[in-house]
Structure formats: C-alpha cells, structure tokens
C-alpha cells in the first residue's frame, strides 16, 4: 500500500460508478463555490467604500426573476444528483442471483467470516476476482459497520437483523476492511484485510486448509454444522420429514410464503427463520400450537446462520440436505 494516498484504489465494479458521481458533484460544487467566491471578491472590491465616510449603498430591493432563477436552477441540478445517486444505490441494493454467499458475524472487536464451503476466517476475507460476492451479516452485540473503501461499499451490521452487501472485485490485491460504526474500546482495531485472488488460487486456498470450521466438537461447512445442531438441539424431533402434529416440515420452506395463525402471510426468509428460532410464537404458523420453546441464549449467531443454511438445503428431492456442497 502506498505510503501517502490521496485517492482510494478502485477495485470493484461499483467503485467506478461511485467515483463518476463523485467527480460530477465535485465539478458542480467547484463551479458554484468558485462562482460565489468570485462574485463576493469582485463585488467587495468593486463596491468598496472610498473616501466619503457617509456614503450609503443603492436602494436595491431585489429581483423576482433572479430569485426564481436561483431557486429553480439549483433545484434541477439537485434532482439530477438525486437521480444519479439513487440509481447507483439501487445497483448496490440488488445482489445478482449468481452471487457467492459468505456469512459475516461482527462482535466486539472482530469480524468472523464463514465461507459456505467450510473455511472460516477472522478479520480476513479471501475472495476470487470477477465473482459477485454477497455478504449476509449480523452482529452478536452492538452495531458495527462493514466497510471496504476500495470497493466503495458499506453496510451497518445490526444485532437482531440481517443485512446484506454485495460487490464484485475487479482487481487482484489486498485492501482495507474497516469497522465504520463506533463500537467501543477497540473500534479502531476492528479492522482487517480483503484479499482478492485469481479464481484458481482461491479454489486452492479454499481447500488447502485442514482447519475447517470447528465449533466445539462440531466441524465442517455451515450446512454440516447446521445438520449437527438440528439433531443436537432436538429440532429433529418435531421438524423431521413430513409435517407432524407438533411442527411443520421444513423441506423446501426457505423463500416460500407462509400463512400465519393470525391470517397474515410472511415469506420464510432469513429474518423470519431467525425469529422463529429465537421467538417461535412471534409469527406462529397457521394450524400449529405455540409449543416450541425459545432457543434464545442457547445458540449463537454463527449457529443460527448454520441452522438456516441447513434448512435452506432441505429440498423435495433432497429431504435430508445431503446434497453436494456449493
């Protein structure tokens, strides 16, 4: 990294778009800033008081035409900026379907990153160049914010919620990873690096390490851990196979619309599944009794993500989620 930088590296597909907007806004700002400065200097010199200490200015009251002009023109320019900014934002908000998902859990004061293939990292993120990446993030304690300046992207990481962030790295290299939301004593040490690699190197990196995730006795990919937890925590008793009296089947449930006991419907997304594990009665499924115990405090955020990953893998043609990884 350069010893003194003046402009950040541009290393993702969105970075160029953000920079273009930035330069446009600098140009507009410079124009108006210099216009005002030039006018103030010119008028001050031109109409400075000379000699006569009793001189007064002209009785100019104003000009409706000018008022309309300097209300309307800045407004129109502002709307262009709004539109441009909003369109870049919409691109940032919609991850492409083929994005490669990675789980992120923030806690005071580290980033825990979990590849679905199994490899787990702390404060380091290895990713392949040219591949859209989608991060699914949550926090175990306070609010953090995941920020990679070279990619021009950032999102808060909020306890009790999932946030997503996506980007497509365009340049091999090592970049800063910062926590941007103040989170306590070692906020400024909650930093790390993002290593963008050639895809082949990345594949080698993914499989090189014997240290798959280890969570106590559990190890493997999130899906494998999820399956273990599913048995360990007893979920399997009520939710295995076809729907029973006690609990609904979870096969193919992810992303599907569910009817609730109070008549509303919800989509079984990440947030819904998480809530159903921690506060099962908050959105009770139609036709079931509120008998499921809460798992609040018994399972951490990594565990919940692993469980959800396992539930996602349960499909009609693969009722046990045995399918091959990736």
């Amino acid at each position: 990294m350069p010893q003194t930088a003046l402009f950040p590296e541009n290393a993702s597909t969105i970075a160029g778009q953000v920079d273009a907007l930035f330069f446009f806004m600098i140009a507009v700002s410079a124009f108006f800033g210099l216009l005002i400065a030039a006018l103030v200097v010119y008028l001050s010199v031109r109409y400075r008081r000379r000699g006569d200490a009793n001189a007064v200015g002209a009785a100019v009251h104003g000009s409706l035409k000018l008022e309309i002009a300097w209300t309307a023109i800045p407004f129109l320019i502002a709307m262009v900026m709004f539109y441009w900014g909003a369109s870049v934002y919409m691109t940032m908000a919609r991850p492409p379907d083929d994005a490669h998902e990675i789980f992120v859990v923030g806690k005071q004061w580290m980033w825990k990153l979990q590849h679905l293939e199994g490899r787990r990292e702390i404060n380091e993120l290895h990713i392949p160049v040219g591949q859209p990446i989608k991060l699914t993030m949550t926090s175990e304690d306070v609010i953090h914010s995941f920020f990679i300046p070279a990619f021009r992207i950032k999102s808060d990481v909020v306890p009790g919620r999932y946030s997503t962030l996506w980007f497509e790295p365009t340049k091999v290299g090592t970049y800063h990873l910062f926590c941007a939301e103040y989170c306590g004593t070692e906020h400024s040490l909650m930093i790390g690096k993002v290593v963008v690699m050639e895809p082949s190197e990345f594949q080698a990196w993914l499989s090189e390490s014997p240290h798959h995730v280890t969570r106590g006795a559990l190890s493997g990919s999130p899906r494998e851990i999820g399956r273990e937890l599913f048995t360990q925590k007893g979920c399997i008793t009520c939710h295995k196979g076809a729907s029973g009296i006690m609990g609904p089947s979870l096969t193919g449930v992810f992303g599907r619309e569910r009817k609730l006991s109070d008549g509303r419907t919800v989509v079984a997304d990440l947030a819904y599944l998480r809530e159903s594990i921690l506060a099962p009665q908050a959105k009770l499924l139609d036709g079931y009794q509120p008998v499921m115990p809460t798992f609040q405090g018994q399972i951490d955020e990594d565990g919940i993500l692993a469980l959800i990953e396992y539930i996602k893998s349960l499909r009609e043609d693969d009722p046990d989620g045995e399918g091959s990884e990736g």
Partner: protein, 214 residues
C-alpha cells in the same frame, strides 16, 4: 381597565398583552409536551405492530376496571378544574378554591390508584428487569410492553404530580385573594395544563388497557 397595575409586569404594556402572552406561552409549552409524549407513542405504535399478539396478551395483565375507574376520576377532575376556572372568571373566590381543592383531591386519588397498580405489578413480577416473570411464550414482547407501560404511565404520573403542585400553589394564591374577575390568567393556564394531562391519559388508557383485550 380596572385591573390593579401591580398585576401587570413591567415588560408588558397592559393586562391584555400580558394575558395574551401568558396564554400563548402555555399553548406553546403544550405543543412541546405533545412532542415529548409523541416520541413514546411512536415507539408504542412501532412495537404494537411488530408484536401484536404479545402486546395483547400482556395488556390482559392490566386491570381494565381499575383503569376505567381512574379514567372517570380524571374526567371528573377536569370538570372540577373547569368549574374552578369559571368561578375565577366570575371572581368567586370560594368557588375557585373549592374547585381547585376538589381537583387536587381527585388528582391524588388517581395517583393513589396508580401507586396501588404499580405495587400490584411488583408483586406479580411484571416490572421489567431481572425479576420479570411472564408465563407463556410471549415473555419477551410482554417485557417490552411493560417497559413502555411504565415509561408512559410513569411520565404521565410525573406530570400529574407537577400538576398537583401547581394547583396547590394556585389554591394558596386564590385563598389569599390574589385573583379577580380581571386577573385570573394563572388559573386559566393552570387549567390548560391540567386538561392536557387528562387528554394524554385518554389516549394512554385505551392503548395500554383495552386494545386487543380478550
């Protein structure tokens, strides 16, 4: 103008200006109060929509009868307050004092009942915090409900306490014959405040005690 000049503060030109300023001042203050309670109501509305069932279940643990009785007590106190203001406008000292005293008594009854309710919640372990116990699956939303319950009714009760103190001062002033048909602005703006505190309760009661009850 028959008002004695001692009642007009030096910064005002006359009693009319003084009265208009005082009344406007109280209304501005009530707008401020509305915004303050508004923050709590916003939080309530958000959580009610997130946890409809939990809030409904928790509100069953409030005694609607006691709440209704307290509502009547407060409405009665608004009536006695209005009578006090009317008497003050007519320059009837005895009526003013009697109305104010009745309002104070009713206000204290309300606070007493509220204290009884709080005590009861304590015994039932419904005060949020480490000793909170709520049977069933809705414990978390219920704790949230009771957090809001205590914050909202607590802030309201604080306003009642201040109101009773203000009325006490007004009673003392009225008894000392400080008001007349020409000068009674303090009673009027005290009345405005008291009615405002009543109205807040008129919203709190159905939101906390009645909505979703079964």
């Amino acid at each position: 103008m028959s008002s004695s000049p001692t009642n007009v503060a030096h910064q005002f030109d006359d009693a009319v200006q003084q009265r208009a300023a005082s009344t406007l001042g109280m209304w501005v203050f009530l707008v401020t109060e509305m915004m303050m309670f508004g923050g709590l109501f916003a939080a309530y509305v958000l959580y009610r929509s997130m946890y409809a069932e939990g809030f409904a279940e928790a509100s069953n643990h409030l005694d609607a009868m006691v709440g209704a009785m307290n509502t009547l007590v407060l409405l009665g106190s608004s009536l006695t307050m209005a009578l006090a203001v009317r008497s003050a406008q007519l320059g009837a000292r005895a009526g003013t004092v009697a109305g104010l005293l009745a309002t104070i008594v009713l206000g204290c009854v309300f606070l007493g009942v509220k204290a009884y309710e709080y005590g009861h919640k304590f015994e039932e372990h419904l005060v949020p915090g480490p000793f909170f116990i709520f049977a069933g699956s809705q414990a978390k939303p219920a704790e949230l409900f009771f957090s809001l319950y205590f914050a909202m009714t607590g802030l309201h009760a604080l306003h009642m306490v201040i109101g009773v103190a203000v009325l006490g001062t007004l009673t003392w002033m009225a008894a000392r014959n400080r008001f007349s048909a020409d000068y009674h602005t303090p009673v009027e703006i005290g009345g405005l405040y008291w009615h405002f505190v009543d109205i807040v309760w008129i919203y709190l009661f159905p939101l906390l005690y009645l909505l979703g009850r079964h």
